[in-house]
Chain length 311, copies 2
């Protein structure tokens, strides 16, 4: 199988943690509900391919996201595979946290919004009310020894509000991190951000004491900018990058079918730069090809298209 020529340069991290979101963010946006046995096999294959963090499911009410109604069953099927911090789960509220903790979850993620409109549509709350709702979730999770990630969505643009001021994103991020979260994930939910915007947001967060060591980036490829934006974040010192194997998922509010940055395209870029990820690209492409077969449609990942079926 073809591999990129390794050409290292200064000014980039030596190692990057890929935060794989395919099983949760990817499958949650599929129209069809994927059988729980297929989900378990997907997670097992991702772990076997060397991914050190796989966000596995969400403890959201089944009426909200029927695609992930099998969260308990999935964790049961997985058993000890990746148990612990390797396998974070999303918890929308205290009820979701209860369910996750009852199953021994050791890493959880909450999902906030940088804009009022999306907070209202996604959480049925104002931004301030959502922070109030998350406070006891974070407090209890930490009291139980769990690691906590805070997503902030719509950081680079909002489908209803248009431009999103950087100061507004920094304000929401600060309020969530002040609750005691361990990691912040900056989401370009509709994929409109560009490289300068990434740099300026990271600079603004840094100025308020939220450094690159506590930040992950989550880019969508709707406008083809995801990988360029990721490299811009690495140049700033970020070492946690969200990606979805095969490019699964996306945002239902962005018109294009293209969604998350494909993990394979990211691994190609990082392998070329000599940045360690622990991921075996060949095993990942094989996993994507298998999953595309399960879903009955080709992967949007460019690397998968180029490499699938090659020697």
């Amino acid at each position: 199988m073809r591999r990129p020529q390794r050409e290292t340069v200064d000014g980039l991290p030596g190692r990057v943690t890929i935060y794989e979101v395919g099983p949760r963010d990817g499958l949650q946006n599929e129209k069809a509900v994927v059988p729980v046995e297929v989900k378990a096999e997907f997670v097992r294959r991702l772990l076997a391919a060397g991914l050190s963090t796989v966000e596995t499911t969400s403890f959201v009410p089944a009426t909200w996201v029927p695609q992930l109604a099998d969260a308990e069953e999935l964790l049961g099927l997985l058993g000890d595979a990746g148990r612990g911090r390797t396998r974070p789960v999303l918890v929308p509220n205290e009820r979701g946290l209860d369910r996750a903790l009852a199953l021994g979850a050791e890493a959880v993620a909450i999902f906030g919004s940088a804009t009022e409109t999306f907070a209202r549509k996604n959480l049925n709350r104002t931004v301030a009310e959502s922070v109030t709702m998350f406070a006891p979730v974070v407090e209890r999770a930490r009291a139980e020894g769990a690691w906590v990630r805070a997503y902030v969505s719509m950081c680079f643009g909002d489908p209803w509000e248009g431009e999103v001021p950087i100061a507004q994103v920094v304000d929401v991020a600060q309020r969530l991190m002040d609750l005691g979260c361990d990691q912040l994930s900056l989401g370009d939910t509709i994929g409109v951000g560009t490289t300068g915007h990434v740099q300026r947001l990271l600079d603004a967060l840094d100025a308020k004491g939220i450094g690159a060591d506590r930040i992950g980036v989550h880019f969508h490829d709707t406008y083809g900018q995801a990988l360029a934006n990721t490299i811009a974040a690495l140049r700033h010192g970020v070492t946690v990058v969200d990606a979805s194997t095969g490019g699964l998922g996306g945002c239902p509010y962005a018109k294009s079918a293209t969604g998350n940055l494909a993990t394979e395209d990211l691994v190609w870029a990082l392998d070329g730069l000599g940045i360690e990820t622990g991921v075996d690209l060949e095993a990942l492409v094989s996993t994507s090809t298998w999953m595309a077969g399960q879903l009955g449609r080709p992967s949007p990942s460019r690397v998968v298209k180029a490499l699938a079926g090659s020697d």
Copy 2:
């Protein structure tokens, strides 16, 4: 129509020249021969959208590339539209140069290879023999006052040879520039390059006296790396970027359908950075949508997919 939020940063050029290759590189790789009237309309629309350089056709023998056998007719139809340096044409050899000069061409491009295998397959010559063949082409073009660009293909990898040493690319580039060419276009013909590789190749060329002011970059999106690689080149000071409206074209030797960097995805990135290009994104998306209709298939550009038909 949605636009990126403008967030400028230091260390990038204030203006970039997009070298549009859709009519030549794009249409040459289409299976079907596009009617010459459609080609003329395509070029006119690209010029109207604000592109300052549109490589229009190739004076290659019709037996080699039947898709571009109408070069004389096309230039006749275009008349004064974009006449001059705005409208370069490819000339494979002296015979092609004769034909182009007879029609008043003021800018021509030659097409070399960084690898022996591709030189043999594409030009039926060794690299050294191809430089010998190009010498009188460049000399005569310059004597006639024409501007000359030298493409070097397979700069970042070769489908038969695999890795391509940077020193080998620099050597071929030097030999072509020593002939008296005005601009060098570095081609990642199979799309395998990554950002560090770009930086190291540009550094190596700089060390040999070929600075960013004489370099254009030509990336393919086969592995999803084209835009990230382009931004890496801009950081080095490069201000000429090849792209193809709608992402038309590609390399017949790369398995994937994805080819040239889409001009729209590039314009989105540059608009967000506040870098001037003179290009009207809305007119460009409209042109791509029209051309996709002519070709009977959707554009692979992510921006076109996201924006086509939107307000």
